[in-house]
């Protein structure tokens, strides 16, 4: 029976993939083209997986052979094995969370209603983990180590490479499956899930800065200098990779280095040094497998909950403001509310300030001596923050209509003109950009050296100018290439149409040229740093006027594509 169910599930997966490519046959040429491009992305990814898999398999054979047949190279091989397998190891921890946020709960629900044993459903999680593209790329390479070692003619190394490789892959699959079930439990409460997703995004973004920030060496930006100690100089044979025992404990306990340590022990013929890491790999795999069962039972047997938001105050209708009409203000207000209640929205607004804070902390410990090029000046920090703010908002603005989901249909049914829909969205995104830049730049402006203050200020204005300049084109692009998104999910589901994203990204690059020129002219040609923010402010005003003048183009695009938009957000 199990085989029949597995075949049925494989067939289901296949039909879902094929039918996804078939959708939209009765739609306009542009929409068919748009869907074809969106469908091509995963196919391109699949085409990339095959050569990568073959390449790593070859390297695996080569590495296994070198470890077995070339004792002088074995230390390097095991080190490379440990380092390179950090990627699938890290992904085993991250993947479950990402997948849980981008899964299809309704499909899972249907599977649970069918007569499929719970044990089989649990094992499906294992299969899903093993079929993940990143694991598929690395798995043959890991197993090829044993084949290479066999070619090298060392029986113990071959055996350990095989047992270790299988154990490593089993551990990653079991761990990924366990964490996947835990993530599903954690994230099925909408509010809790969104909070966790936000923390996850911010944590991942901040991860790169933490080591720099907490280094005992205060010269955070200085590139690491080579060891010049007498001890280092006295070890001529130590130019290669470090010994595994010298690595930090946090790294050595990871599965990839457990495998590396087992291999190292085998190449040295030390059975005891091999048994411990091998045993650890298999014991952890068994533990993760065993823990998955009760977790899966809990997932099946307990109901999902949903969060509540207690803001029951009945608000009256505002009549707009002196600067914008009632409908424009209403659209802008709804856009701000709905966007800021999504994970992507919160992350877009929170990320630049978090980044700004980190950068500000780093700048307080910053020592420019010995730092080359652009990074010798403190202005790199505001540049990075402004880029983050503008690029993140670009992801929203390039899909601004479809991102409203079925709320867009509500708008289309109301007496809201295309003008109000476009201008309301432009106003909302401009407010978000301004708020995000202001909050992010304040800590930076407080800590940058006085000489860099005008440039930092000009960069903030330049970011806003670039955002405004692109606003009309972003609206046109989002009307032309809409994609249904869920901005509270991660992965592909919160991403706009690739063409829309690419177009807005390119336009943002072009829009950054004039304000950058203003800054360069003021500083380099005229030698008057305080002229930079003045010139950029003038350009900001010009960009704003040009944007408002160009908005009718976006309004026409919306009118022309409104029917398609309504169909897309309705899932047609």
């Amino acid at each position: 029976m199990t085989g029949r169910i597995v075949l049925a599930l494989a067939w289901l997966r296949w039909r879902l993939t094929v039918n996804a490519a078939k959708s939209g046959r009765n739609r306009g040429t542009l929409e068919r083209f748009s869907r074809a491009v969106a469908a091509a992305a995963p196919i391109l990814l699949a085409l990339l997986v095959i050569p990568a898999m073959l390449g790593l398999t070859f390297l695996g054979v080569l590495g296994g052979w070198a470890a077995a047949a070339r004792p002088e190279a074995s230390a390097a091989v095991v080190f490379i094995v440990g380092i390179s397998l950090l990627a699938p190891t890290g992904w085993a921890f991250v993947r479950p969370f990402v997948m849980a946020k981008q899964g299809h709960p309704e499909r899972e629900e249907l599977l649970r209603l069918l007569p499929i044993p719970a044990r089989l459903l649990r094992h499906l999680e294992l299969v899903k983990a093993l079929l993940d593209p990143l694991f598929l790329v690395f798995a043959p390479g890991v197993l090829a180590l044993a084949a290479g070692a066999a070619l090298g003619g060392r029986g113990l190394v071959t055996l350990v490479a095989l047992a270790g490789g299988v154990g490593f892959l089993a551990l990653l699959a079991c761990l990924s499956s366990l964490l996947s079930l835990a993530s599903q439990l954690l994230l099925r409460d909408r509010q809790r899930g969104e909070l966790v997703a936000l923390v996850f995004i911010l944590a991942i973004s901040a991860l790169g800065f933490l080591p720099q920030l907490f280094r005992s060496d205060a010269r955070t930006l200085r590139p690491p200098s080579p060891p010049a100690t007498a001890e280092g100089a006295a070890r001529p044979g130590h130019a290669g990779p470090p010994e595994l025992e010298e690595l930090p404990l946090g790294l050595r306990v990871l599965p990839s280095f457990q495998l590396a340590q087992a291999l190292a022990g085998a190449t040295r013929g030390q059975l005891a040094a091999t048994a411990l890491p091998l045993g650890t790999l298999w014991a952890l795999a068994a533990l993760a497998y065993g823990l998955a069962a009760p977790l899966h039972r809990r997932l099946l047997e307990t109901p999902a909950s949903s969060g509540t938001r207690r803001t029951e105050r009945v608000e009256g209708a505002g009549s707009g403001s002196p600067f914008v009409s009632g409908p424009v203000a209403a659209v802008a207000s709804v856009q701000l509310s709905t966007f800021l209640r999504t994970v992507r929205g919160k992350a877009t607004v929170a990320l630049p300030p978090v980044l700004g804070l980190f950068m500000a902390l780093m700048l307080t410990r910053w020592n420019p001596s010995g730092v080359p090029g652009f990074f010798a000046s403190p202005v790199w920090a505001p540049v990075l923050v402004a880029l983050t703010a503008v690029l993140n908002l670009g992801v929203l603005t390039c899909n601004q209509f479809a991102a409203s989901g079925t709320g867009l249909v509500l708008e289309l049914l109301q007496p809201v003109s295309a003008r109000a829909m476009v201008r309301g969205r432009a106003l909302a995104s401009a407010l978000l950009c301004t708020a995000s830049l202001v909050v992010a730049m304040v800590p930076l402006l407080l800590v940058v050296p006085r000489a860099a203050l005008p440039t930092a200020l000009a960069i903030a204005l330049a970011g806003l100018a670039a955002h405004l300049a692109v606003a009309p084109a972003a609206a046109v692009v989002s009307a032309t290439f809409p994609k249904t998104v869920n901005l509270s999910r991660l992965g592909q589901e919160d991403q706009p149409h690739p063409l829309a994203h690419l177009a807005v990204f390119a336009l943002q690059g072009i829009a950054a040229v004039p304000p950058a020129a203003c800054i360069l002219v003021a500083q380099r040609l005229l030698g008057t740093p305080w002229l930079a923010p003045v010139l950029t402010a003038v350009w900001l005003a010009v960009a704003g006027i040009l944007a408002v003048a160009a908005l009718p183009l976006a309004e026409r695009a919306l009118v022309a594509r409104r029917e398609n938009l309504a169909l897309v957000v309705a899932g047609r």
Binding site: V314, E315, A317, P327, A330, S333, L410, A420, A566
Partner: protein
């Protein structure tokens, strides 16, 4: 008699498929018009054309005496719609959704507050008015969609399966409310698969089948063309060609 909705040769194609095929609707003002048809007959596509979500491929129409191509916004100010698919912002609460609709209709603060409170009470959504729509059940979403349609006090209501997923108590209240709305001169254009509801509420019926309007008129007119005492269900099945006798009996089903 002037018509709230009037179409001539209204057609909508999707590629090769003709979803709505040259239909001539005539919905009198102040009538409760039940628009019936089997699944996939073209009911929702017709409503989408009438409410401006889809452009007709050909034909003309007038809504409340106005041309939708010219007076789109004027019509929308007088029309309330429950579309086939959900049309709500997932990340707004019920109060925020209704406030948005009130704002774009230009309702003043006091009117908005009063109407929202009454509608939420009627729909029994008062206790959940602060919850996001994302956390609503299907029935709650439907009720909110109805509240959205009613809030601006429209003269014409397009209701696509409004009772689907709504509990019996709310359903009864809504039926009474709609009957009162028509009695006061409003017009309702309703599609439903529950023929008993249509038979009880509607005074005019249109039946669409394979995109064509196969019957239209008052309930009495439709009955006069059928055998004496025929129910609306019998008339409907007769017109759309349902053949209960020859349908598979699924005798393998215990």
């Amino acid at each position: 008699m002037s018509h709230a909705i009037e179409t001539h040769g209204l057609t909508r194609r999707f590629g090769e498929l003709v979803a709505v095929d040259a239909i001539d609707l005539a919905v009198p003002r102040g009538s409760f018009y039940g628009f019936l048809g089997p699944n996939g007959a073209g009911k929702s596509t017709t409503i989408k054309c009438l409410t401006g979500l889809l452009r007709p491929s050909s034909g003309s129409m007038r809504i409340l005496g106005l041309d939708p191509a010219r007076d789109d916004l004027v019509i929308k100010r007088q029309v309330g719609v429950i579309p086939e698919e959900q049309a709500l912002f997932e990340r707004l609460s019920a109060v925020e959704t209704l406030t948005f609709v009130a704002r774009v209709h230009g309702l003043d603060r006091a009117t908005t507050r009063r109407r929202i409170e009454e509608l939420l009470d009627l729909m029994d959504l008062g206790g959940a008015s602060g919850k996001l729509v994302a956390d609503y059940s299907h029935g709650m979403r439907k009720k909110l969609a109805l509240a959205v349609a009613l809030l601006p006090a429209p003269r014409l209501l397009f209701l696509d399966e409004p009772f689907e997923g709504i509990d019996a108590v709310a359903s009864r209240q809504i039926k009474e409310l709609l009957a009162g709305f028509v009695a006061r001169g409003g017009t309702v254009f309703l599609t439903s698969h529950i023929i008993e509801i249509v038979e009880r509420l509607a005074d005019h019926i249109g039946i669409i089948h394979h995109g064509k309007l196969v019957a239209q008129g008052s309930l009495a007119e439709l009955r006069s063309g059928s055998k004496a005492g025929a129910s609306l269900e019998e008339i409907f099945i007769h017109l759309v060609g349902g053949d209960a006798e020859n349908a598979p009996k699924l005798e393998w089903l215990a």
